[in-house]
Each structure stands twice: as C-alpha cells, then as structure tokens.
Symmetry: C2
Subunit: 132 residues, 2 copies
DNA sequence: TTAAAGGCTGGAGTATGCTCTAAGTCAAGT
DNA sequence: ACTTGACTTAGAGCATACTCCAGCCTTTAA
C-alpha cells in the first residue's frame, strides 16, 4: 500500500489478497465492465482506492448469491448513469431470487438432515437392511 | 403413462414435464452416471418407473442447492455400492455448504434490503443527492 | 547494468452444465 | 404403403465464468 499524503491506494495483488479474487479475475471483471477502471500509476499499474475496493466487495456479495455477471454489469451501468429506478428493479429482482434460493436451501437442508439421520442409523446398526 | 397390470411407467417426455428437466438433460444425466439407466420398452424407448422419478427429484434438490454434478455422481456411485459411510460424508459436506450458502444469502439479503430502501428514498425525493 | 519482481495486454484454453443437430428406428393411424 | 411423431444415438456447439500464457514494460535492489 502506498500513501504519501494522497488517498491510500493499492496494487492489484494487494486487492487480490484483500478480496480473495485473483488478479486475473479483477482484470477480467474490469474488461467486462463490472468494475470501473481504476487510476493508473507508474508504468500503467492499476492503483485501486478504498472506494474501488468497496465496490468490489459489494459485487462479490451479489456474485456469491448467484447474480449472473451480466446482470451485475447492467446494474453497474445503471448505477453509473444514476438511473436509480432501474437499479431498484434489478436489485429487487435479485432480492426475490435470494428469497427463492433461501426456500430451496431450507427445504434441501431438512431433507439432508433426514437422510443423514438415516445413514447414521445404518452406521449404528439400528437398521441393517432398509434402503429407500 | 402406461399401466397394463405392471408397475406404471413413463416416457422421457412425461418425465421431462414432471421434473421440469428437458429430455436432453435427462439423457445427459444418465450418460454421466447421475441416473441409472431405466428399463427400455418397444424400440429402445426409456421407460421410467416412479422410483426413477423419485431419484430424479432427489437429485434436483441437490442440484438446485449447487452441489456439483461430479459430487452428485460420486454420491450416486457410493449409494449403488451401499457404501453408506461415504454417502454420509458427501451429504454432510453438502449440508455444511448449504449452511454457508444460507449465511451468505442472509447477509446479502439484508444488504440489498438496505440498498433498496436507499433507492426508494431517492425515488420519493427524500434525498436528492446522496450516492454512496 | 543487470536481473528479478511485479504488472501490462490480447487472446487462447478450460470446466461446468447443458442444448442442439443429424441421421436413423419404430409404431400407430389413414 | 406411407406418413407422422416420438423416440434413439453420437457428437458438436454454446453460455458462463474464469484461468492461463506469451511477450513485453517498468521499477528496484545488488
């Protein structure tokens, strides 16, 4: 990290470590428009600000909940154009999708607990010959 | 569906409709070993039993909660070999993964609710110029 | 001054999970 | 007899999301 009386800035490998995204992935996200190009330093090196990192963090929240990169891209686009109504729509759709995912995860979680109990019984020898 | 005093059996297109998987996907799952080959009828047509459909349903629970097909394949393999201990391990790993996913979804759900409220305020004109 | 470390670009390659196509078989209805 | 429609196969193609590579440039330390 580089400081000298300006805003702190970070190299790609520092950001990579902080965000757990590879440098390649960070460059890829920039290429496809998920991240705005950061400032460049000596020799064209990317210099990320804390704000850039905040955006990356938000983006990874969306990504980890399976928002497709194309949709994140649209969101970023609208955000940049200050089209809040569109941003709202996209985020609200994703909220609904998250709620659907929660339901599926909960249902499957139950089912798996049930199956695990079943295998546990077999392990304990409580039911020698009962396969479903 | 076909009945004539035997067990009921279903064609691939019937199963496709019931499970919301395309016929191509069903054949693909069979090819990679996620599904055991069903009985064949006249002209080599697949004849799925209710039990087959039960397996497909279980498999889609796993798939919808992001268990990789390779891992489902391993599970099916161990299941067929009656290696319950291995089945247990794989399912328990997936249970942990589901719990991780639930946490991430819940965190992101909160974050999005917050952002949505923010966009709502902008829409209502309550905060004209505040971008984060 | 030179060599190692780290970054740059464009583009090719990979993994996953389907999805589609071509060419053929079979059974039933007209 | 012949057409229609649903099925079969092997294999090619596609979308998504990376991941890696070659070849080059700059900075820094020895």
């Amino acid at each position: 990290m580089h400081k000298d009386r300006d805003k702190p800035s970070f190299t790609i490998s520092e950001v990579s470590e902080m965000t757990e995204l590879s440098a390649d992935t960070l460059r890829y996200y920039e290429k496809i428009g998920l991240l705005t190009s950061p400032q460049r330093g000596a020799g064209m090196q990317r210099m990320y600000t804390s704000e850039d990192i905040g955006r990356i963090r938000f983006l990874t929240y969306l990504k980890r909940t399976h928002m497709p990169l194309k949709k994140i891209q649209q969101y970023v686009n609208y955000y940049e154009l200050h089209e809040e109504a569109q941003c709202f729509v996209l985020l609200d759709e994703h909220r609904q999708d998250i709620e659907r995912q929660l339901k599926e995860l909960e249902a499957t979680h139950q089912l798996i607990q049930f199956k695990l109990a079943h295998f546990q019984e077999i392990k304990d020898g409580k039911s020698k010959e009962s396969y479903e």
